[in-house]
Every structure is written in structure tokens, then in C-alpha cells.
Symmetry: D2
Subunit: 341 residues, 4 copies
């Protein structure tokens, strides 16, 4: 961390400030220029609040050189992390480090018939995981809020019928007890900065699929992962799912540059959600392919056997035949990129 | 709600679609044009999901005429709501309906000395309420997270010493039990769409100060209020505190147009936070005055007796003398606007 | 265009309003509901200003069903447009309708040596066009503003040496006279809404590469194309080059969803600029591949033989060897997507 | 400017880099730390391109301490600038340095009757300047583009009838010849980064009212002013008129924090346009008052005698009676703020 001191500051004051900083377990390198003094902080500066320093009357500007995250940082963990999910028949299905994870299924679990039918369809097309929501975050209190625990039960039935590991969203920590059979816990965009929830999740042993908040920076996403990892967990999958911008032709703006950036900064796997990221079913195949081309470790997308009757997000769900056709293309892309699918 | 049907749709299909809509307790007004058919939905459409309708193959576009919120809507509650907080000596202090609420205090409670000193200073300058954080949402797990319950205890001591009602942020519903003495519960920007928390708060009898998420639309803020109100509560104070935009010279962009807009759409009081809204202490007085000029029902701002040593948000805290000087101007502004201060 | 009339409006007033609308060469379809009257405007509504209508005291909301652009609209020109640029040796090089256009070269022309060396390198790697700036839009009046006419002369020399058609940016209409040998005229992001310039360009017979303004919607980009096309030209190439968002880890946020969207709405070719779209050279290959996967008709990117000494945009330029390696991947992607490269 | 060098860089290479920098008329202060070397550039760094430096393989990060603008910078011109516009009867009307400029009139000049009627109404209510557009930047080539030169003639007639100095927008430099009688030349938001136009305006002797581009940072606005000032002019009025954000309940988001920020960074007067800044006539009075409270040196707003029939922007125009009532409030606000109106 580099601190530029205001011009004309008294040497005595700078020394006092510098001494105060050294009490925070960093070493201050002191460079007195003819015009401006610059302090260089050496050591672990992740616990030093750059914005707080900015309040000091001596400080002109603060520049962070070191990233504010440690456990999620590739610098300290150069090789790719891989998330392995055990399969009922033995072995495991992986995401990251060369393995593409394809997670497909309906936005919401609506009935046994629906979830089993979709599960079989996506399995046959080559999906590796089944997704389905039981607890749904909805903008309106008057909208369908998901089937709750009953929905999870049906999802588990579909898992048993197909052998696909399952992914479902957890909205509050007290729901954890009913997530026993869920293989990957999804944390939604609106909860990405629910810091109390993130802290609690650090004690959870299951893999966490952490979606980027729709107005959070990539650095904030890595800091959210850091919250969970600081609690002890290290099985995190990052997910780009679109950010909020001035243009509204898509529900969100899918920020695919986040894929190479996150993979450079962190060792964690990065997947993409082209369904929520665009909100338009006809655009999903193009953006799913683009995600793989950009280097993603997988995709999560919505497949519904009857999008028009979906209780939630029908406008962004593709049908099983469209999904099957997309999977054929993705296999070719995976081959070029040297990934297992 | 108005639904434009795609050109060339079969009359039979439109009739079926229309019949299905009527099962949702609305009446469908059917207007067959020479080029395009338009359906008008009459009745309470708040429970109808416009985006889901968009998934139907017959639908060209959906236009919502009625607002998606009811209890927060001024249409059904034309007079201003006023939030009354009882005072220890009897009577009440009010926010809304002509009464300005001035809420001041440090970002975080740091010590008995600090909170009592600031409390007395802001009281003498004319503040109506004392703010102070005990549980702090921080972007980094390595930053100071607040004093927790101990901080609340100190805040209550300052309340007893000064008679000022207190405002503090609640981050998770299980903290509610220690908020007994807190007069107004603040819900922070990052929890504005924590729907599980909002639902639980509906059962709470205390006033809720609901901050706008830094990337939430004003309609989403009103929908968040609706979540709480749907649970039974009706004592909500809305708070504009800056939104995230492309420009970063201020921490957030204070969106003062939200004040007249929210007050036109809703009967709830609207206050402004110029401290978080700008992140720059020297800008706080200008923006506090602008907030009152724009029609706000109050302000909440950070005052610290020693901003340079603040453990949190020092760069946006003003000192007691600056606050006292600001209060003199605000009194003149209140008079012009015909508000009580 | 559909106009919802305010509840309680007098029938007589609505009739007058309706009659006034009919004088603008549209037919008004009149649907009187029990609760709300809705007017449907049938005919060419591109010349009707929806925002102006919103000012009328009878109007609740206005919903545009028809797109505001005509000549750029795929609805009236279902087949893909193809831009052919004649080659000196006869024949033409194409962009669009199945042909990928690869445009590569330095941000600025800096010297004969530099531009010829880069031109030969990109030609050998398989580029179809050479780019190079002579007039540079710079945020600071104190930055290098390009070599001007002398730069164009050198670019033309490189064209003669390699046979590659050339692309260069025009900043003001009075520069047109020196663009005689330039094959494709680029209009930069900051001039996308310079309406006077767009009108003048309508009379120009050369193909126009129109870059999306960094804060313009895709609809505004199509309206800018419409300005040029309304003047008579129809040889426009649209270019996505990143939009301004809250996150700043990339210089701009490359909005790849714009590719499938623009291609669905318009018949014009769509290319992508991953260099300006990210501002980071190491990210360019990933995003170039993602652009082709998303369905783009080509890419334009910056290649410099010595990025560290570039007078402009060195941080986003790739070197000739990186470009050559990228081209090998792009050929495989083109094959999967069924495009000629 | 401070440059952090990458860890592990060779001393010899750093010395060469440093020597190269010194050839650009700055002195390099060399601070070799145990972990990281930091270079401090002392002197006029406005001509050094921070982004270009970022391309160098030795560079970790670049931090600009000095602002990139000089002539617009308050640092080198501590006292407020005041723009004086001569009046026909002798004397001058001022904006800045304690004088509030109130500029009112219709979006477009539509007829002699209209412009004279509005001019007299705003004069009687206390406006200091008359605005009216003759050349209109419109998103659609099919919308009304203004009356052109004929409109300017009518505006000059209104000036003669009322004695009010006039303000009108110039869209291209070749229009300058017909702006002889215009007192203040307005440059619209979409032309704020039309650098060729800005350079030419530097030679113009009239005051320039420079509107902030709707997606330009405040620093970019100051750099645009710098372009004009680098050409020799120093009579610039900056204007905040709303920025583009994710929320669309207002046409733009009026960024009132820009007022105190620009006034701190620059000596130039700063005014606010609440009409374009909100797009909603009923919101204009609140935001006009807030602008003055925030410290603005004036406002520019749209007044139309018949907003419903306005050919342009009727939805954001207030009527003469609303304007007269607003002026009464503004006089009280001006008094509190110690400004002349």
C-alpha cells in the first residue's frame, strides 16, 4: 500500500503518522521527496482500511498494490482449484481445473412430474448436474415464492431417479438443515453481500456456488468468497450472472470479461449463468458458447419442459431440444479449449 | 396491465390465453385491432408477473400501468404517514408529515466516552435522534466488524444520558432480541433485498429505517417496503443513500431526485444520508441542505469527535462544530419549506 | 404505438386528442374500456415522438411496439447485408453474411517502419484488413493527437505494400477529402451521436464502421446507423466496443450480448473490438474468441510491434506472435460456426 | 505521478525506464524499497499518459496525484471566475462569483409568437437570460430537428423585445457564423467529447456553456473545458444536466454532488439543468431549489407556454406561472446562500 502525503506536511507529523501505522504489523518505508513524501507499507495490508486512511488530514491519496483478498488469491495458490462432487455410484463429478460443469434444470421445482421429466432430459443431453429452486427470492411479496421444503424433496427424488448431483439456492442460514441431500449450495446475487450468511457458510462443508451480485465489482465477489473462506471452507465456485447497467434490452448485462479476470486473480473455478445473465431464452445458446470460449469452467442454465407455463422465469428458459442441440456445439468448443465435458 | 399480442396470432389462441388470464381474478378487456390485438387487464394485477407473461409465444410486449406495490402506494393512502417515536420524558419525536427528523452520530460505537461525547454534542446542536452502529457490514472479513452487543449497551447508555431516541443497524433477524432498547431499526443497503429478513421484520413493531440498495431502483425500494408492510408493519422510513454509477469521485452518487419521486408515489417519510451518499465529509453540508430543499423529511448523517481516528468511515464524518453550523442553516431552510425542526 | 389514457378522462377530450394524432398519417384504433381507454396507433410511427406524447395531460403511458428504425431494421430486409471492399488485385473482401472480417493494426500510425512492419505481420497471420489511426480522439488536449494527414499517407503506403484494404477513423467531416484511399471509414464511440456528422456521412459512398458509444444503448446505435442510412448510404458495419459500467477492472465492459441482439434486430454486419472493449492486452484473445462464438461477423483489434513504446493504447495492444496464435484458434471457431475466414 | 514498479524488477532496467521518463521534462524521484521500488514524477505531468505507462512491463500501478487539467484548475486560479455578458442598455449580467444566472426559455424556438411570449413571461418573473434551441440534436433522424437559422432570427427578435441576453446550442463549427447575436454558446451533452469542435471553440470569444456528457465523469468535463481553454478561451460555464444510470424513473439522474465537487476543483462557474436532468416537469422546482442549496451558480431550465403542444421536450417544460412561483422561492434561497439574484 502506497500513501502519498500532502505537500507541505510537517516532517514531525509525518513521523507520528508513520509510527502509528507501524503498530498495525506493517513496516513503513519512508521516502521523503523534494516535493512530496510517499510512504510504502510493506507486509500484510489486507486488514488495513484504505478508505479510513483517506480520512487523515496528512493523506493526499492511497493506492493499494496488494489485493485485499488472500485465500481466494491465485498468488498464494497458483494451481487451479477443482470442486469434486461425489456420485452415488462412486467416483466424483468435477468443476474446474480442466473439467467443465454443466448445470441445468428449471428455475423452480413445480411438481414431481416437471422436475423428473426435465432431469431426465438434461441428463440424456449430457448435463452433469441438476438445478432447481425451492426457496425463491422474488422482488414482489405477491409473487410465487417457491415450494419450500416440499420442493427440495422433489428435487431429491429427481436426483435419485437420474443420479445427477443437485444444486439449489439457500436464502437463510436456518434453511441449512433441510439442505442435507443438496450437493452444491447456491447463494444468489442478492445475498452475495449478506455478510452474516457468508460467515455462517464458512462452517459448512458443502461446495458453495456464489453468484456475483448484479451490481458488485469482481473484487467484491472475491471478497465475498474470502468471507466464506475465512470461515474455513475452500470449496467455492464463482458465478458471473450479469450486472446492472444503463441498457435494458437484456435483463442484465452479461460481463464475460469477468471470466478471464477472475481466473487470473483467483484459483477458484468460474462458471457463467447465461439465463439470468440475459433474461432471453433465444440468446442463451450464443452466450453459453461465448462463455466457454472466454474460458469458463462451466455454465448453469435454465431448462423447462414448458416455459410458457413456468411459474418463474419462463422467458429465459430453453426447452430440452434446444439444450440438446447446444450441448452438441459445446462439446466441440470444449475440445478446442482442451476441457473435459 | 396492457398486453400487446403479436401480429398474426390466431383468434382462437388469443381467446384461450385470455381465458387463462381471467382465472387469476382479473377481467380481460379484449380489443381486436385491424393490425394488432391488445388485451387490457382490469383488477388487482400486483400478483401477476409481467416478466412471466413475456415468455408466452403470443405476447409482443407487456406494459404495467398500475404500480406493483399497494400498501406503500400513495394512491390508496393519500395523506403523509408520520412516524412517532415516544420520548422518555413523555410525548414523541416525529418524522414525516411536516416534521424533519435529524439523526446524527458516529458510524460505529467505539467506546463509552466517544458515544456519550458525540451524543451530547449533536443533542446540543439540535439533532433529534442519535445513530451508532454496533453490527457493521464490511466488505472485508478482516475489517473491524463493530462492537456487537457491547456496542448496543453503550448506545443505550448514551440514550439515557441525553434522552435522544437511538437508531442502529440490524444485520440478521436473530439479533432482534438485543435491539429491545433501540427505537428505530435500520436495515442497510446490502440487506434491502434480503427478502427473508424483510418478511420477518413485518412482525416487528418498531419503526424500520429502510435504506435503498446502492443499485436498486426506486421501485425496488418501494417493493422492499411492501415486503415489510405485507407482514403487518406500517412504520417504515425510506432512505436515499446514493447509488452506484460509472463515476467514482464520490463513493456513491446521491440521487436526490428520488426524494420528490418517492414522496409522490408513496405516503412514507423519505430521508437522505449525505454521509454514505457522498463519502466525503466536506461535501456533507451542501448535500444535507440540498436534501431538505428537495423535500426530504429528514437526514441521517455521521458525526465523529475525531474522524481521523474513527475505526470506520472517518473520511465521511463531520465534526461536532461543522454539524452545529449546518444545523443553523437547516433551520432557515426548514422555515422556507414550512417544516418543523 | 399504444397509448394508455388516464382514468377518468373525458370522452370528448380523448376524441380530440385522437383526431390530432390522425393528422400525423397514422390511424388511431380506439378501444374504450370500462376502466381505461387505450389508443392503438397503426401505420408508420417512426416519426412520432413518444416522449413528447407523454407530456399530454390525458396520457398515462406510451408503449412503442414498432421499432423506431426502418432502414436498419431486419423486419424490412430479412437477409443479412454483406459489405464488399474491392481489392487492388480484383475481387473483393467481405464482412457479413457468412464472411468474417478480421481488422488488425496499431492504434496510431507512428512511422513508416512501424506501420509497414505491423501490416506485413498481420497479413501473414491471416488478417483481412489493416487498421491505423491518423486523427486520434484523446481525452486530454496535451496527449498525442495522431500524425494527421501524414499518418494517412503512411497507412496508404502500407496498403500498397501488402494489398490489405485499410480502415481509419474520421473525426470531422472536413477530413473527408484526405480519406480518398481509405477503404472503410471508422466513426468512433464519442462521435456516434454527432448527428451533424452522421447526416453528412449519408452522402459518402464508402463503407462506414460505426462504433457504439460507450454509454449508448443498442437501440441508439441502430438509430445512429439510421441517421447515416436516411442520407442514402447502406454500407454500415456496427461495432460493439464496450460500455461504461460501475466496474472498472476493464476500461469498458464488453457487452457481447449486443452481438446476437443486433443481428436479430438488424441486417447489418456486427463486429467486436476486444482491445478497446477491455483495455487489457492479455484479455484480448479470450474475448476475441468469445465474440466469434457469440455470432460476430468479425473483430477489430490492436496489434503493435512494440506495445511498450506505443504512443497510444499500448496497454491494450497484442504483439504479432500473439495475434498469429489467436488466428489459429479463430479458424477453428469459424469452422464450427460455419463462417468463412 | 507515482509509479509502483513490479516486485523483482532488475535495478538496471528500472534505471533505464527512469532515464526515459526524465526526457519528458519531469524529474524522477527514485525510492528503492526492500520489497518494491516506487518512482515519484515531479514537474508538469499533465502531458504524460498514465494509461500508456501502464503498458510497460516494469509497471505495477500508476497513481496520478496531480490533476490532469491546468487552466481549469482552481489550484492555479484560486478565486472564482465570473462570466459577464454585456447588456444592450449598458452594464453586464453576471454568472459566478456570487451572482446567480437564471436561464429560462423553451427547448426549441417554434414561432415568433411563442418565443416572444415566453421571453416576456420569464423576464417578468426575474430570469436573467433567455434560452431557445434552433439546431436540435435528436436521437431519431425522423424527429423535428429545429427551425435552424430561422429559429435564431426569432430568438434575436425576442432578445430585442425583452433585452434578455440569449443562449442557444451550436452543433457544428460551421454554424458559428450565424451565432453572431447569440450571447452564450451552448455545447450539448452529446458534443462534450467532440474534440475537434472543442478545439475550434478555443478561438471563439463568446462565453461557452458546456454541458456534461450524460456518461462523462466530472474529470472528463473538466478536461473538455481544458480543451477549449487550451485554445485560448477562458469564459466557460460548466453545466450538470444528469447522468445515465441503471434507474430510469427520471430521464437522467441529476448528480448534484457534482456542484460542490466542480466548484472545489475548478474556478469556473457551475450551473444545473433540472429540466433535462429529470425529464419530468413536476420535479423541476424541487431540483432547482436543491441545485441552489448545493451551491450552484445558476440554473438553466425549460419554460413553455403550452407544453402539450411543444414540438420537443414538452414533458419536462414548466409553465410561466410555475416558473414565477419557483423564482419567489429561489430568491429566499439565494439570500440564505449570500448570492445575488
Amino acid at each position: 500500500m502506497i500513501i502519498a502525503i500532502k505537500r507541505g506536511a510537517a516532517a514531525e507529523e509525518i513521523r507520528e503518522f508513520s509510527a502509528a501505522l507501524e503498530q498495525r504489523e506493517v513496516k513503513v518505508h519512508f521516502s521523503e521527496g523534494t516535493i512530496q513524501t510517499v510512504l510504502g507499507l510493506v507486509g500484510d495490508t489486507t486488514a488495513i482500511d484504505a478508505e479510513a486512511l483517506q480520512a487523515h488530514h496528512l493523506v493526499e491519496k492511497v493506492m493499494r498494490v496488494q489485493e485485499p483478498y488472500k485465500r481466494a488469491n491465485r498468488l498464494f495458490h497458483p494451481e487451479d482449484s477443482r470442486i469434486d462432487v461425489p456420485l452415488p455410484e462412486g467416483g466424483a463429478r468435477s468443476i474446474g481445473a480442466g473439467s467443465l460443469g454443466i448445470i441445468a434444470g428449471p428455475c423452480s421445482v413445480e411438481s414431481r412430474e416437471q422436475i423428473v421429466e426435465v432431469a431426465e432430459a438434461v441428463k440424456n443431453a449430457g448435463a452433469g448436474f441438476l438445478r432447481g429452486g425451492a426457496f425463491k427470492p422474488r422482488t414482489s411479496p405477491y409473487s410465487f415464492q417457491g415450494m419450500g421444503t416440499g420442493g427440495l424433496d422433489l428435487l431429491v427424488e429427481a436426483k435419485k431417479a437420474t443420479g445427477l448431483p443437485i444444486v439449489s439456492e439457500l436464502m437463510a442460514i436456518n434453511q441449512l438443515e433441510v439442505f442435507d441431500e443438496v450437493d452444491i449450495i447456491q447463494i444468489g446475487a442478492r445475498n452475495m453481500q449478506n455478510f452474516n450468511l457468508l460467515k455462517e457458510l464458512g462452517r459448512c462443508k458443502k461446495p458453495i456456488l456464489l453468484k456475483r451480485g448484479y451490481s458488485c465489482t469482481v473484487t467484491e465477489l472475491l471478497m465475498a468468497a474470502e468471507y466464506v473462506m475465512a470461515g474455513g471452507s475452500d470449496r467455492i465456485i464463482l458465478c458471473e450472472r450479469g450486472i446492472r447497467t444503463f441498457d435494458t434490452y437484456t435483463r442484465n448485462t452479461l460481463d464475460l470479461s469477468a471470466v478471464p479476470f477472475l481466473k487470473r486473480q483467483s484459483h477458484l473455478p468460474v462458471i457463467v449463468d447465461p439465463s439470468h445473465g440475459t433474461g432471453l431464452s433465444w440468446m442463451v445458446p450464443s452466450m453459453a458458447k461465448a462463455a466457454i470460449a472466454a474460458g469458463a469452467d462451466g455454465i448453469i442454465l435454465e431448462v423447462h419442459n414448458n416455459p410458457e407455463k413456468a411459474l418463474c422465469d419462463g422467458e429465459q428458459s430453453i426447452t430440452p431440444p434446444v439444450f440438446a442441440s447446444l450441448m452438441k456445439d459445446l462439446k466441440k468448443y470444449a475440445e478446442i479449449e482442451g476441457k473435459k465435458l
